[in-house]
Symmetry: C2
Subunit: 199 residues, 2 copies
Amino acid sequence: MHQIEFWFDFGSPYAYFGALQIEEIAERYGRTVSWRPFMLGAAFPVTGMRLLTETPLRGDYARHDWQRLARKFCAPFSLPAGFPTGSAKPGRAYYWLRDHQPAVAIPFAKAVFHNYFGEGIDGFSREGVLRTAAECGADVASLGSALDSDDLKQQFRAVTDEALGRGVFGSPFFFIDSEPFWGADRLALVDEWLSRGGW
Amino acid sequence: MHQIEFWFDFGSPYAYFGALQIEEIAERYGRTVSWRPFMLGAAFPVTGMRLLTETPLRGDYARHDWQRLARKFCAPFSLPAGFPTGSAKPGRAYYWLRDHQPAVAIPFAKAVFHNYFGEGIDGFSREGVLRTAAECGADVASLGSALDSDDLKQQFRAVTDEALGRGVFGSPFFFIDSEPFWGADRLALVDEWLSRGGW
């Protein structure tokens, strides 16, 4: 079965809104979703773009837009006090779970998004990541040993390099087969692409 | 009757796709469209953003995306050899027409988009602007006298300042009453906003 690739940074509000929708879209077309967190910040030196919240005018618009999207989707939305926070730890934890407890990986990713953006809990710290992983039934002792290891850091850097190599410059970013779609606001187009088999 | 404000730079491909759709959406809700060209380049020093075509990764994506949107809308699309070209002259001409031959202004704006992006004719030069204006029945002798005048330049700069003051940082950019929407890919959301009267 062809997968939909869902590339995202855990710290991206638009990725949160994408995560709320992509599984249902994929299911409707008999596809599964490959969740691929990466470090969006690595793309900024390449594109010259910046964090939305550090971009004048656009940052203000985005803050307004997130609230509007939250109301539209009846989704809980509450930015943590420290937002934006570096998201390397939940990203690394996701790949460790994918490789060692695959059944837990996507539930963990959804819980990370929900805790951070839905509940406004700053869960990107080591403690926050392990707490969320525990809620999802992860083997927290093993995950805790691996979380800050050089091997896992290197694996996550390689994933981020793969993203940039594929032309991923924003979050969320989707591939249907090889067709790229940037942005949660492109999910209607993604849906139409799947429905028509492209055009 | 409440208007929909449609802010755009004539040199923006996404504005071209927005221009193809916005009048029909507005009509469906008994609204008219206020066409407001401005100089997007003036926002770049404020936001730190750049021309799409000069943005690595994102520029390649955009070129692919424009062709995909053109196929989706069955819209003619052909980038002029000199793209991107400064769009001050068609912008100034639009406001002169709006003030002196209002019936011609929006047909002129549509013709500018069609010639530039639909036919790939580099119509942003003085000669190109006057040729397009003539096709639309403009008083080309008067327009030609005004086109490069300090007064009209100043008027267009003031419009661009107004755009930035309103938080407009991209093209196209829409306001429904005071609600801002950035991007041609937000027109489905614009439609839903009009349908529901906001949320």
